[in-house]
């Protein structure tokens, strides 16, 4: 168990009578960059919420550093998909990042030079120093993502979770975010778990992939997991994997009828 930052063992989640996740197992080691890939509704967000302690599991266990999650665990940073803010919310970018340090603590804290410098450093690291004094509600999607990454990273987590950070971004913003993460995470030894429905932007940086479909997961390197046999078993129907110019496309095969025989086989591959 040593050296494992996060370990999920046969995790199952049942919500409102529906089985969202079944028999999901994987580990994440320090510094690893893992992609959590799968179609919409597959259970990626639920899985992230389980790791964060926001969702209880009906089966299985979640261990962080070999122990169940403590209530105030600062070792996991989180960048959610959506923020609940209005454009006129009185939070500037630097305020948001500053909240990443101690936003969860009660009481007053006086401003200090050291804190301000730390915030400025982090802003520069993610490339957000140009709009540090803008209201966070008035930023574009890509800009907000950078700010929230800075917010999460400034708390010095050991694992960073991101929920669909690349959705709704144009290609250059996408690449910007990926390169920020690829640059900062290994520098601090931070493990990254990033969910997306398109794995292509992540191909250059992913160490491993957790492919989630129909509530189950296949785990391993991209070469091990992204294969027609593995994914077909996961989806429960025939899928093809098409590789073009280094990019990957997963498509349902034309005669794609749901094949129960495929579904019942154990699809997880732990590499």
């Amino acid at each position: 168990m040593t050296g494992e930052l996060l370990r999920l063992d046969r995790v199952g989640v049942r919500l409102g009578g529906r089985e969202i996740l079944r028999d999901v197992s994987f580990t994440i080691r320090p510094g690893e960059f893992t992609g959590l890939i799968g179609p919409n509704g597959a259970g990626k967000t639920t899985l992230l919420r389980v790791i964060l302690g926001l969702q209880d599991v009906t089966q299985g266990s979640v261990l962080i550093d070999g122990a169940p999650r403590a209530p105030r665990d600062a070792s996991i940073g989180y960048v959610p998909q959506k923020l609940g803010i209005e454009p006129d919310m009185p939070l500037r970018v630097r305020d948001v990042v500053s909240l990443g340090i101690d936003g969860h603590k009660f009481g007053i804290r006086l401003p200090s030079r050291a804190r301000r410098e730390r915030v400025d450093e982090m802003l520069t690291a993610v490339g957000a120093e140009g709009y540090a004094d803008a209201r966070v509600g008035e930023l574009s999607g890509g800009e907000q993502q950078r700010v929230m990454i800075a917010h999460a990273l400034i708390g010095r987590p050991r694992l960073l979770l991101l929920d669909e950070p690349l959705a709704n971004l144009d290609i250059s913003s996408e690449q910007g975010i990926v390169s920020v993460l690829a640059r900062l995470a290994p520098a601090e030894g931070i493990a990254v778990l990033l969910s997306a429905h398109d794995m292509n932007p992540l191909m250059p940086v992913m160490d491993r992939i957790i492919y989630v479909a129909a509530g189950r997961a296949a785990v391993g390197t991209t070469d091990e997991v992204v294969r027609p046999e593995v994914l077909s078993r996961l989806y429960g129907q025939h899928v093809d994997v098409i590789r073009v110019h280094g990019r990957v496309l997963v498509v349902a095969a034309p005669e794609g009828a749901v094949d129960p025989a495929l579904r019942d086989e154990d699809a997880s591959v732990v590499g």
Binding site: G53, Y78, P80, I85, M89, P90, D102, H104, F106, H151
Partner: protein, 302 residues
């Protein structure tokens, strides 16, 4: 200077009730402004409005029972806040109607209490005072209670400040960091109820939302960071309150009635005026207007 004598009618600075009004007014204005800032930020303006209506019922009830109306405002407000917290958060459009109708019943009850109260007591103008404020008749014995409540509410909100900001930014992040989001929300609602009760003492239950929402909304239009916004809101609140008190005092001999214009009228007008003025300033800097009336967000109770 002679000019000063025109601005400040004689006796202003010597008057006991004025001292009380200025002191209590300032403390309450600051508390309301800061609490109001968080209220607007959390999209809970409608909750503030509801609590004001229910405070009306409470004040009327207190009057009926012969107790200082502050206790009525506070008790009913706190009770309503607890109830709101219990039935849970996330109100959407359909629930506006429900809340509104229930508030209508509360106001109907207020009508009854006021009526019965005036039957049994000989105080004239009690209805008016409860509805529209009675800052000049705050007794010196209630002053410590009012100031203490205000400071308590203010301290609560300041202590919870960062946590409230984080929860507004993303409740999930807050929860994942171990913030007891529900308990924090409940504590905030209590501070809100207290604020409403205090504002009601100054400008009346029906108008108390002005001190809560107005300065905060104006501050949000002209500043950015949270601390600065709180400071600006507090400043606007105090300015409007003090100026309102001054004008009300000066107006004592004004036509047509020769008994002064109500403080609440001045305070509300100054606050709304300030808000409209902020529109002149930011006209070219991009309006906050959504393209479609933002009712979904506007009318959430929590």
């Amino acid at each position: 200077m002679i000019v000063l004598r025109y601005v400040f009618e004689p006796g202003f600075f010597a008057s006991g009730p004025v001292h009380i009004a200025l002191a209590v007014g300032a403390v309450v204005a600051v508390t309301s402004a800061v609490v109001g800032l968080f209220t607007v930020m959390r999209g809970q303006s409608f909750a503030g409005h509801s609590l004001a209506d229910i405070a009306t019922t409470g004040g009327s009830g207190a009057f009926l029972v012969g107790v200082n109306q502050f206790w009525g405002y506070l008790a009913f407000g706190a009770g309503a806040a607890a109830f709101m917290e219990m039935i849970g958060v996330q109100r959407r459009r359909g629930r506006d109607v429900a809340t509104g109708v229930v508030l209508g019943a509360a106001l109907g009850l207020a009508a009854l209490f006021l009526y019965l109260g005036t039957q049994y007591s000989s105080t004239t103008g009690a209805s008016f005072a409860i509805l529209f404020g009675s800052i000049f008749v705050i007794t010196s014995s209630t002053v410590p209670v009012l100031i203490a409540s205000a400071l308590l509410a203010l301290a609560t909100v300041v202590a919870l400040g960062r946590v409230l900001l984080l929860s507004s930014l993303s409740p999930d992040i807050a929860a994942a960091r171990g913030v007891p989001v529900r308990a924090v929300g409940a504590a905030f609602l209590m501070a809100l109820a207290t604020s409403v009760a205090l504002s009601a003492m100054i400008i009346g239950a029906v108008l108390s939302t002005a001190l809560l929402i107005g300065p905060a909304a104006t501050a949000l239009r002209v500043t950015k960071g949270p601390v600065r916004a709180a400071a600006v809101a507090a400043g606007i609140g105090v300015a409007a309150t003090w100026l309102g008190i001054l004008l009300a005092y000066d107006s004592f001999y004004w036509p047509p009635a020769g008994r002064g214009w109500p403080v609440s009228f001045f305070v509300v007008t100054l606050i709304v005026g300030g808000y409209l003025v902020s529109y002149l300033r930011r006209r070219d800097r991009g309006k906050v207007a959504p393209t479609e009336p933002d009712r979904e967000h506007a009318c959430s109770v929590a």
